[in-house]
């Protein structure tokens, strides 16, 4: 409850900082504020990819279900935050370059990551056996995570615009950190809830099996 409360308050604060307390808002409109949200969402997306990778590797080496739960939770959080990154990135591109799409490496990598997460979700639904599902899901996530940095570099070489925004001054650092921190706290709270849900779901399955055995 404490984590949820802190996450909620910090997200409200971040939105306030990003959209209202912008020091050079007059000169750049809402671009900078949107940029803070975009960078924060990209940061959380990267974090979910790293956590998925580590959870996948740990699951394959130890075989404990809680790491599969963590992989699934981080993938689902990524599935939510990556569209935020794409939408805010597209809005930044529209404000900065008057076009909805630029070959910005973060934007391209985010789009690729979202497809990976969608496919991952479909892959998980293709298996009934939970161990098989967890194993293949971990393998796919490791391959996709290894490909992630390559996608970033490839998009960097394809880049047609140097940056969505000019050089950010030191004054931009504090709001950027507040936004990134708030998004991180929110994702942590969501992961925690997802893990609890997975645990409860497992307990229900176990109790159902016990009841069935008792009736038999």
């Amino acid at each position: 409850v404490i984590l949820d409360g802190i996450a909620g308050i910090s997200v409200l604060l971040a939105l306030f900082v990003a959209l209202d307390q912008n020091p050079i808002q007059a000169s750049q409109g809402h671009l900078l504020g949107m940029f803070y949200l975009y960078v924060s969402a990209v940061w959380v997306a990267t974090l979910t990819l790293l956590v998925s990778l580590m959870a996948g590797v740990t699951y394959l080496s130890r075989g404990e279900e809680r790491f599969d739960d963590l992989l699934r939770a981080s993938m689902e959080i990524g599935l939510t935050f990556v569209p935020v990154a794409i939408l805010t990135g597209c809005t930044c591109a529209k404000l900065a370059h008057d076009t909805w799409w630029v070959w910005n490496p973060y934007l391209v990598a985010s789009a690729a990551l979202w497809i990976v997460y969608l496919v991952h979700l479909a892959l998980r639904r293709g298996f009934d056996d939970p161990h098989q599902r967890a194993r293949y899901s971990a393998v796919y996530m490791i391959m996709a995570s290894a490909s992630g940095p390559f996608t970033f570099v490839a998009a960097l070489w394809w880049q047609d615009s140097p940056s969505m925004i000019g050089q950010l001054g030191p004054s931009a650092m504090a709001p950027m950190l507040i936004c990134a921190g708030a998004f991180t706290l929110l994702s942590l709270a969501l992961v925690r809830h997802r893990l609890l849900l997975a645990e409860h779901s497992r307990q229900i399955t176990y109790l159902r099996a016990q009841i069935c055995v008792g009736e038999a």
Binding site: L60, G63, A112, I115, V116, V119, A122, L123, G126, F127, H131, Q132, R135, Y136, A138, V139, Y140, I142, M143, A144, A146, S147, F150, T151, V153, A154, A155, W157, W158
Partner: protein, 225 residues
Amino acid sequence: LGSQLQALVAIAEKDFVAAWRAKRIWAMGSLPAVLLVFIFYAVFRLRSGDVSDVVTAALWIAFALSGMLILSYSFIQERNRGSLDGLLLSPAHRAVIYLAKWLPNWFFISLVQTTILLLTSAVFGINLLRVDLLLIMVISAAGYSGVGTLLSAVASHSRSRTMMLGAMLLPVALPLFMVAAKASSDLLHGDSLSPSRHWLQFVSAFSFLSVVLSTVLFNCVVEER
């Protein structure tokens, strides 16, 4: 090591012979790609001027498509015949089985790709048979088949097999296609492989990493726990 090498040669030979006899692999791999090249030609033939970028696009889409079809054949056939269990029961190491499956895939994808290259050269009237372009294609085929062989094994266990392979493979292989297409476009525009971009190193690094990682992970895919 000697016996593992013998196993590798035996399994790879089995796949080569099976694919050679079953002519449908050629039709399956080549025909959609051939059609695609003709569609590109039909759409862009009236455009005057430089068609290098169109040729590059046709080439790499055809590559992705034909490769995917060939890769989908790799493990699904083994599962349908029930011969995968036999392979896994053999004394060959799992990494050896993976490499023996990967080698024929690499070979057939490169072969179909060269056929498409020849066809595209003839249709568009551009000489595409260049050593540097062939090198990029063969190395890309190694990486594509490296990831694809592993994911084909994963997809063969899934309910929606062929569809799942395409969906899984393309986002993972995306950087390979982005860089290989850009490098091919530069080559066709008359530039040499730009040293500042390290196209070839990128494609080689991706291919090497994908084969090594897939070799390591293959055991987790075929393991029954």
